[in-house]
């Protein structure tokens, strides 16, 4: 027997064994979700299992990681993903990691109609819908009113009064926020790469100049929350839920909508291209959009939901915090992210790299 043949047969056996185990795994009824922290609380997962018999396996992640993980496998490994609505069309064009939603399997009457329409419009590619709205919220300013009461807009974070005591993320929302606060509309330039590059270069310079004022570029939520709790940071750009969480612990800390407008995001449901259990994914979506379930998830995430009727069931405290952060005018001034065209993130990426390297 020649060694090569032996090796081949050994390999074949090993592969067959792997194949057997994977088919065995596929046969059990399991839903693999890649999502954000707090979007699939244990209580809701348990209730879903009780009603449908489907096990839910949750992987925590963020927008960039979700896309990278799905890209690595060509859209396999998960049955449901929850990227933000602006991050679906671009990656889909580039990497083809999602499959279209079969709208006939969705109970669309459970969604707030305006939000469903907006998300559908933003996630449609070649006439097919790829995303449905789930949880929404905003990016704005979290300030300690005692020590940084005068902060009212993004550029105030760069004011000399708060030297070494403010923070932002080194990510695209920061560049966009700076653009809005200097009176520009970056979203209007999405389809004009040249003008967009020029604008982002300017904002990069602004951010680089502001760097001396920042304590750090925050990367994970807890790093910033801890910084604000012990007073190392007095004002930061952050999403609303973090601000409200701190507000519940210490009333001095508040989430405010900046003068130039908070940035509005919607996290969605999207089906990975090679998901194995679409039926379970649809069941999970319909289950999650029921008002009582949606209210539970929203409370766990500390944000609001696109489910119709969940509003009445929301925690009154969170509602009060929301009302305080968003007076009528601020609510109207929210800048909702439009879909990011392919290639835009390359432009921002280079600018962010330069900011990080600048001294």
């Amino acid at each position: 027997m020649n060694p090569f043949r032996v090796l081949c047969s050994v390999l074949a056996t090993v592969l067959a064994a792997i194949g057997l185990t994977t088919t065995a795994l596929a046969q059990e009824n399991k839903l693999r979700i890649i999502t954000w922290a707090d979007y699939a609380p244990a209580e809701v997962v348990a209730q879903f299992k009780k009603e449908t018999g489907i096990d839910v396996e949750v992987t925590l992640s963020n927008n960039e990681e979700m896309i990278s993980k799905l890209r690595a496998t060509g859209g396999a490994g998960f049955d449901l993903a929850q990227p933000s609505q602006d991050r679906i069309v671009g990656p889909q064009q580039e990497f083809g990691i999602y499959k279209p939603m079969d709208m006939s399997k969705i109970k669309t009457e459970q969604f707030i109609p305006s939000m469903l329409d907006a998300t559908k419009k933003n996630t449609t590619l070649d006439g097919k819908v790829y995303g449905l709205p789930h949880i929404w919220g905003t990016d704005g300013l979290v300030i300690n009113t005692k020590t940084a009461g005068k902060v009212g807009d993004y550029p105030d974070l760069c004011a000399a009064d708060y030297k070494g005591k403010t923070s932002v993320r080194l990510k695209r929302p920061t560049l966009l926020a700076l653009a809005f606060s200097s009176g520009k509309d970056p979203f209007a330039l999405y389809n004009d790469p040249k003008a967009y590059t020029a604008l982002m270069d300017d904002m990069g310079k602004k951010l680089a100049a502001c760097k001396a004022n920042l304590k750090f570029f925050w990367d994970n939520k807890d790093q910033l929350l801890n910084g604000m709790r012990n007073g190392e940071v007095v004002a930061a750009m952050m999403w609303d839920t973090g601000g409200w969480k701190l507000n519940s612990e210490n009333p001095d800390v508040q989430f405010i909508a900046p003068k130039s407008g908070a940035l509005g995001w919607i996290d969605t449901f999207a089906l990975p291209a090679k998901g194995r259990n679409d039926a379970a994914a649809y069941a999970w979506i319909n289950f999650n959009m029921r008002p009582e379930i949606a209210a539970k998830v929203a409370a766990s995430a500390g944000n609001f939901t696109a489910s119709k009727g969940a509003d009445q069931l929301m925690d009154p405290k969170l509602k009060a915090q929301f009302a305080k952060s968003f007076p009528e005018a601020a609510l109207k001034n929210i800048k909702w992210y439009p879909a990011v065209p392919a290639g835009i993130e390359d432009i921002e990426g280079k600018v962010l790299d330069r900011v990080k390297a600048s001294n």
């Binding site: 027997m1 032996v6 050994v10 960039e64 580039e94 280079k350 990080k356």
Partner: protein, 304 residues
């Protein structure tokens, strides 16, 4: 005579029969290692090499070329980051060596019996917890509201807490701490093999501490020093966690750059090119180091 002849023929016959058999056995025994090497090291690298030669021109259309490598040269920030990482890694290696050498000398030559193993274990104990926990420990000690700044205030050395975290020096501290063991071990084994009588003879011949260190100890320990330095340098250059956690808003590490390209920018092509550049440049630095110090790679690796 005839007997001997017969036995020889049997031997050769048996040899002819056994040899392919043995070769097969050897091959089968090596197969897991070869598969591992091929599947987990060679193939991914080939894939990365191909990836690094593709440049994105439009969604899902790529063209072959050296565009990604050209970006590294054209965009000063990328090679600045690399130079920064390399210089800091070399510096961290030198610091580790300077701290580890006396410690290794003490363990190898002065400490005896129980004290010796105790000291060795003390070098090892920090490695029982994961790197993340060790790094977080440093963060608790050094942050503005942490232990050390508060101590400085209590002792009246500083008026208010100073931020000790997020500086380049902090990264160096973390890196030296993390890689200490990998320097101590090869140094101890190199120093232990040095015969004490050589040092006594040197003293008898009128040498002093410094000249003995320079002419006897260091030349003898050179392969150990080189081995430790190579390991520490490679670990430091390829470290991701310590620089990202301890470093501040200005401290860019090259591995962080690779991570960013792969994960947050979805630009695998650029990330792959950076990965290759890191591999090539670090190999070049190690080779240069060996040439400058006159060491042979084989000797060094046997020592480590």
């Amino acid at each position: 005579m005839a007997d001997r002849l017969r036995s020889r023929t049997t031997a050769t016959l048996a040899g002819d029969l056994v040899a392919p058999h043995m070769r097969l056995a050897l091959f089968l025994l090596l197969a897991p290692a070869l598969l591992w090497l091929l599947g987990l090291i060679v193939l991914p690298h080939v894939d990365l090499a191909v990836l690094s030669l593709r440049t994105r021109v439009a969604p899902r259309t790529y063209e072959l070329g050296f565009g990604n490598y050209r970006t590294f040269i054209d965009e000063p920030l990328y090679w600045h980051t690399f130079v920064r990482t390399a210089v800091m890694s070399i510096f961290a290696t030198v610091c580790t060596l300077l701290i580890a050498f006396p410690a290794a000398w003490y363990i190898a030559k002065i400490a005896r019996g129980r004290a010796k193993s105790l000291l060795f274990v003390m070098c090892l104990i920090p490695f029982w917890v994961s790197e993340t926990v060790r790094t977080l420990g440093w963060m608790i000690l050094l942050r503005e509201s942490g232990v050390l700044p508060r101590l400085l205030v209590e002792l009246g050395i500083t008026a208010k807490p100073v931020e000790l975290l997020y500086h380049d020096t902090t990264i160096l501290v973390g890196l030296v701490y993390t890689s200490m063991l990998f320097m101590v071990v090869p140094l101890v084994s190199a120093l232990e093999s040095l015969d004490d009588s050589l040092i006594e003879a040197a003293y008898d011949l009128g040498g002093n501490g410094l000249s003995i260190l320079r002419q006897i100890v260091i030349p003898h320990a050179a392969p150990g020093i080189a081995a430790g330095s190579i390991i520490v340098f490679m670990l430091t250059l390829g470290n991701y966690l310590t620089p990202t956690l301890l470093g501040g808003k200005n401290s860019l590490w090259f591995t962080e750059q690779i991570y960013t390209q792969f994960i947050t920018r979805f630009n695998w092509e650029q990330g792959a090119a950076f990965g290759f550049l890191l591999l090539v440049l670090s190999t070049a630095i190690v080779w240069l180091g060996l040439v400058v110090t006159g060491q042979k790679f084989g000797d060094v690796m046997r020592r480590s």
